[in-house]
Amino acid sequence: MITAGIDMGIQNVKVVLLREGEVISQASASSGFEPGKAAEQAFEDALKRAQVASSQIKHVTATGIGVEMVPRADSTISMIAADAKAGVHLYPSARTVIDIGAEEARALICDEKGTVLDFALNERCAAGSGAFLEAMARALEVNLEEMGNLSLKAKGTVSVNATCVIFGETDVVSLIHKQEPKHEIARAIYDALAERITSMVRRIGIKPDVVLVGGVARDIGFTSAIKRVLETEILIPENPEYAGALGAALHALGKVGGNAK
């Protein structure tokens, strides 16, 4: 039995296919101006990779922003619920899941079944999301990957404003003028985002084990900063950006009476 999950992200659409609860393929496409078309594209790619036909998919569950644009969705699930399902599926010991995407961040605590007990959101503000890192990398004139590696060399001698992207940019520009080393500025940027995320997580409390998902979880600069600031071990799956789609696909599986392994 094959089920599918589609996560309509602001920057990328992600698709995961499961056969009897086991991932058989995943694909993504840039959301762009027509997220519906991007969803179609990613879905086709995932089918091709798994070598299955669309008609073989028993159930499709969509999540993310703009789920109404998904060409085929038999059901929908909230992003928070999808994250919880994915978190506990990936790590049965997971009780806190943090998801940092391009323009939003979420944190939730859940039980061993992946039922959400409490959650906190950062929305309508770029400071607590991937957009913060993108804006700061632009101001620092480095690309994102470079910034992550740079930050690892730093000791933590300077800081930047964590509450607002615009104020943060101003800080970065004045640090450049003060001729602070780039790697120190890079670390300050990651620390700022990590502090912001930590204060969101603390609103609901931290229950170990903590899982970090979303595209930003791929950034080595950020993951080392959040470990430092949150003062706890953090589990990061191999494909953190697919967590939402995985959670949706697991929900689809439940809908047709299947059980995840």
Binding site: I10, R124, C125, A127, T163, I166, T170
Partner: protein, 298 residues
């Protein structure tokens, strides 16, 4: 500003020397330099009257910007930097004004400047700049009694207007008027985070909204944020608006509707130099005069 170019965000930089009556005899020359996040302003005063004004974009380096805007203000005045008795720096980059004798906060300077521009009836000043919103209460002398500002978030500030000007391809100085061309005022946008201005507007355009409607919804949300700050500080007549957004009719008319109070009208600044966008530099030049006179007495 005419269409046809692709720098829609660009607002007018200008420099103006006013005919001065009192410039012959030995006079007291003071100057104010306001280094904002987006624009730098300089004012030269002769015996406390505006003599010349300059407004230009702030560069990435504050000391450079201060020097450039000051030089421009002196251009055509027959004065040199050395002729100025006292200079006060203000604004976000005030500590980086190398030629200044003193630095004061823009809050004090805007209150003082508003008092000079509109007179002693001013009690509440809304200053909206590139990344600041400030609501200031003052007395009849332009002395600050209390204030509130957006110290944690730049949502709803002038920066967002530049982003939208480029995206919608409407010259920035025409955006206010364009936003008023809607038959019915739409609901305000839910998010005025400057970093999201582009995606927010693109989402609305994708839904088939006109540019006018997008601007109306965005400016309404900006105006609501500003009015919340004014109401928290306590709005008292007369109300005035300073900073770059004082020239945005789309914002001014919405503030008027929300507060049910008309801000005092824009002065004839092209003639008399009393540009509300320059209020901070005007206030700084006035403080420069007072500080110089006090120093002479002691």
């Amino acid at each position: 500003m005419s269409g046809g170019n692709n720098q829609y965000w660009r607002w007018r930089e200008y420099h103006r020397v006013l005919p001065s009556k009192k410039h012959k005899t030995p006079s007291l020359i003071t100057a104010g330099i306001d280094i904002g996040s987006i624009s730098s302003k300089a004012v030269v005063m002769v015996d406390g009257e505006i003599y010349s004004v300059s407004v230009m974009r702030t560069g990435s380096n504050s000391p450079d910007s201060a020097k450039k805007v000051m030089d421009w203000a002196l251009e055509g005045t027959g004065l040199k930097l050395n002729d100025i008795n006292y200079i006060v720096g203000t604004g976000y980059g005030r500590v980086n004004v190398p030629m200044a004798n003193n630095a004061l906060t823009e809050i004090a300077c805007h209150a003082k400047g508003a008092n000079y521009i509109w007179g002693s009836t001013v009690r509440t000043i809304l200053d909206v700049g590139g990344q600041d919103i400030k609501a200031i209460k003052c007395d009849e002398k332009g002395k600050v009694l209390s204030f509130l500002m957006n110290d944690k978030c730049a949502a709803g500030t002038g920066r967002g207007m530049e982003v939208l000007a480029d995206l919608l391809q409407i010259p920035i100085e025409e955006m206010g008027a364009v936003s008023l061309k809607v038959d019915e005022e739409p609901e305000p946008v839910s998010c005025t985070c400057v970093a999201f201005a582009k995606t927010e507007a693109m989402g609305l355009l994708r839904r088939g909204w006109s540019k006018e409607k997008v601007l109306a919804a965005y400016m309404r949300a900006m105006a609501i944020r500003m009015c919340t700050l004014i109401e928290r500080v306590g709005c008292e007549k007369d109300l005035v608006v300073t900073g770059g957004q004082s020239k945005n009719i789309g914002i001014i008319s919405r503030i008027e509707k929300i507060l049910e109070m008309k801000p005092l009208p824009m002065p004839n600044w092209e003639e008399n130099g009393k540009d509300p966008m320059v209020a901070g530099a005007i206030g700084a030049a006035l403080f420069a005069k007072a500080l110089y006179e006090r120093a002479q007495k002691t």
